[in-house]
Structure formats: C-alpha cells, structure tokens
Symmetry: D2
C-alpha cells in the first residue's frame, strides 16, 4: 500500500498540453468539431494509464475488461485555432458502482475555456460487454485522485 500512498501525495489534476495542428482545423480556420472529442478521449485514456495504473491495452488483453463511454456531453465555448496550445485537464465528478463521470476541460492556461467534456464511462467485461462493479483497487485510486484534485482545485474552471 506504500505504492498507493505515494501516488496520492503526488496527485494533481492530470494535465497535458496539446498544440492544435493544421490538419485538425477546417476551412474556417478553427478546430473541426469532432476533434474535441478525440482530445478528451485521449486525455481519459492517458488518465487510465497514468492514474488508474492500467493502460487500455492491458485492461483489454490481460483483464478482459473495458471502460467504454456510454454518454458524453460537450460544451464548445471558444473555438481554438491552428497553433493554439490547449491545456487539457481531467477531474472526476462522480464515482458510481459501475460507472465513472469525468470532466475534461480544455483551456488556454490564461482564463479562457475552449471546451468542457463530460464523459460517462462504464466498466464492462468482454466479450459480452456486461456492466460490472468497478474493482476495489480502481475505486481506491479514483477516490484518492478525486480528493487530491479538490485540494489542488482548478481555479480557472471554477471562477
């Protein structure tokens, strides 16, 4: 459990920077709408690997599980353009018995929020894709992350 403690003390909202490439923008010069969901799901994937401690590949191949998205809500607030650097941050809104509600926020690091993506995922067992209770090991890591994020609250989003 020392391993677990270490992670907790270390935890902040997972954050990564992504510069919008030319090819993700449309003829109007702004980001093409669906690319926002690509960025959010990729952030969730990284969170699975780095915070939950299990890559989707390992989850799928070794544990016969998946964490598919069952619902998503996206608010497009300000459209980024080519070369804009987006800060992508993920927080946990709710942890249910079989489901997890996450929020991925894309902002410019200076007060402008580009988009906010709510992702509701459900832990399933393959191949029948049946919903199962989230295993305790995952549950503890998620709760620890949630606590750590509250302590390092994302002022930019809350204000």
């Amino acid at each position: 459990m020392d391993d677990h403690q270490l992670i907790v003390s270390d935890m902040k909202p997972l954050s990564r920077r992504h510069r919008v490439p030319w090819g993700d923008c449309d003829p109007a010069g702004i980001i093409y709408t669906p690319r926002v969901l690509d960025y959010a799901i990729e952030t969730f994937e990284i969170w699975n690997r780095d915070i939950l401690g299990v890559s989707w590949t390992r989850l799928h191949r070794e544990m016969s599980m998946g964490f598919p998205t069952v619902r998503t809500e996206i608010d497009f607030l300000n459209a980024p353009v080519t070369d804009d650097e987006i800060v992508l941050e993920m927080t946990v809104e709710n942890l249910g018995r079989t489901s997890l509600t996450s929020i991925v926020t894309g902002h410019d690091g200076g007060g402008t929020v580009y988009f906010q993506v709510k992702i509701i995922s459900c832990l399933t067992f393959t191949p029948d894709m049946e919903a199962k209770p989230i295993p305790d090991e995952f549950r503890q890591r998620i709760l620890a992350y949630q606590t750590a994020c509250q302590d390092n609250s994302l002022h930019i989003i809350k204000n």
Copy 2:
C-alpha cells in the same frame, strides 16, 4: 414558392448509409468512440447542403456565415463493429431564434439503435462569430423539414 412546395412534399428524414471501415475501429474491434461524432457532424453537414440548400463552403465563403456546434450530447447504446452498415438519420428537435437542435440517430435498420447524437448549432456571422437570427429562408426550410419528418415519423426510434 413552388420550389419550396416541391421540397416539402418530397421530404423525409434525411437518411444515409455508412459502412464502418476497419480503420474506425479500435483494438477491441468496436468503433472508436470519437468516430461517432464524426459521423453525426458529417450527417449534419449533408443536411445543410441537401435540405437547407447551402453547403458549408458557400455559407462560409459567399455568405460570411457559419453554423458551429455549441453543445452536443451523445448516448452510446450499442457499439457497431467493423463492416456494420449504419443508417444515419437526422431530425430537427427544436428551432430557436439563433439556434437549431438536431438529432442524428445511428441504427442498423432493424430495430437496434447504435447511438443518438443531439447537436445544438448556432448561426453566426464571421469573422467575429457573433450569434445572429436564423435567416427567414432557412427558417422556412427547417420548419417544412420538421413537419415532413413528423409525417414520416421514425418508428424505430420512438418505440
């Protein structure tokens, strides 16, 4: 207005078929989540060209307008796999002063709904992206489409 009448009598929910290519599926063999938003936005783009009568290119270049998505909600009900043929249908849920709420449903043509995507778009003028009332010509076409769709209601989705 004869032109308009013609369109009304002819109208059904816009529907297109799309076979899920290998490259849109992930290592679990099912559609990669963000591709669903690609399919929905492409359906909305086709609807703009075929029903509203103005392609996004013409809207952008000749009319200095855009119809960007301001919010979207997606319910992932059943995951399509490679080679599944998806029927994509679009209906109008609500027409506001400056905004349009559309629903793109992806189903298998036999009673199974894969996903349902709500798209809220807002008519804007470029380059400042300011919201503007939807022009009357568009408004009439949208209302006529909405009426025509009710007459040819999508039983598969309602049941």
Copy 3:
C-alpha cells in the same frame, strides 16, 4: 468454378464515389494531405471485401491472416476542395508470390486526376506477421480482376 466465371464476366475496375467533407479540408480550403491515404486504404479495404471476397475482419478473425501495407507511393496532382466528388478506382499492377501492388486513382470523372496511390501489400499470417504465399483462391480472383480491368481500361488515367 461457375461462381468464379460469374465474377469474371461481371468485373470492372472497382469504383466508388466520395464527396470530400468539410472536416477533411484544412485552413487553406484544400484536402489535408494524409486524408488521401485514408481514401486509398479504404478503397483497398472495400476491394478486399467485394473482389477478393473476404473482409479484413474475416481475414483477421477466421483465417488468422492480414494484408498489411509494406510500402506506398502517393502523387498529389491536383488538390480537391470541400464538396468535390472524387471517383476512386482501383487496379492491380502486379501480383507477386507474397505481395500485391495496387493503384488507387482519385479523379473527378472528367479528366482531372487528383492523386494516384501505389499500395504494396504483403500477405501475412498472424500473430507473427510472417509473409506467406498468397493462397490460390485469392490468386485466381486477383488475376481475373486484372484481366477484367484491362478489358475495361481506365482511359482517363492512361491518356
């Protein structure tokens, strides 16, 4: 072999139409370069299913084979823009012991070639991805297709 005969008499160069969506174009208003390879590989995938008679899913799951691309060469001759309708046609240039050289041409149906993509694929067995001789059943279908294409030669490309 009656089945085979039927296919031969029926065969023409596989051809499909694809309208360039808004999201495949960049801020300069022309197709984003990598999308051309997407179109070509999707055409090759359809050819596998419709001409070779085996979808990539079945090839992978039921036959433990794959037909990965080992080399590709693309000539970008004229850049399509949003809403352009591209005719995508595939011909076979060479059939080797373990490899197949195909050409996917994208043109406008009226004499303008947008791009030409050479795809060299190699039949492999999974999971070790070892090259294997192309099975006889495939070989016969490929040769028949090649013959049929010569009889219905693609004048637009040859002139």
Copy 4:
C-alpha cells in the same frame, strides 16, 4: 545574422516523441496504416514552425504561400502497437529550386525503425498554387539545418 548563427550551433535533427493512442490502432491491434502519414506530416508542420521559423498559418495568411506535399513514399518496416512510444525525426535529403525533399523516420529509440516517410514539398503561391523559388531566408535556414544534421548524424537510421 547572429540570430542565424545561434540557430545553427543549436541545431540537431528535429525530434519529437509520440505515444500511439488506442484510437490510432485497428482491430488487429497495430497502427492503422494512414496514421503514419498523419504523424509524418505533423512532424513536417512542426519543423516548418520551429526550424523554418514560420507556422503554416502565418505562411498561409500573412505570406500567401503554402508548402504542399506533391509526392510521398512510405516504407512500413515494423508496425507499432498501442502505447508504443515513437521517436519521430526529420532530416532534409535534398533542397531544389522550388522543392524540398524531407525524410521523417519513426523509430523506437533502441534500433528498431517503424517507418520511413519521404515527403517532397513544393513552395507555392496562393491562390493559384503556382510553384515559386524557395525564398533565400528559408533556403539559408534549410541548408544550415542540413549541415547541422550531418554533424549529428542519425546512426540508428544509417546502420
């Protein structure tokens, strides 16, 4: 010219790391072929901004120029799988009057080359897309980069 000198002394082959996301892989678990061209063109885009000193946005909007790809050749040597970290490096093979031949290599940092992409780009003036001689300022930067890369030769690729 001090600015220029500084760049020269500093220069190494442009290199970036990219972890292959789940969504870039196909149902066989390996990278979907066209994504390799996405990675290569994005590397070339970054090179334009960081080495040539002009982002594609500025090149397009402020200078009415573009650097479109006219031909590309890709060798797929080893297929990366999900979570593999690819090192992407770009070198200049040839500088012509109006064109530039670049090589983007994707390797694992330990001797295994995943793919090698040759990109031939041509400097054009918009909107007529006419080829023009590469401006002297660009030419000097390209030659300096080429020299610097030779001094820090990519052993992994040459052996």
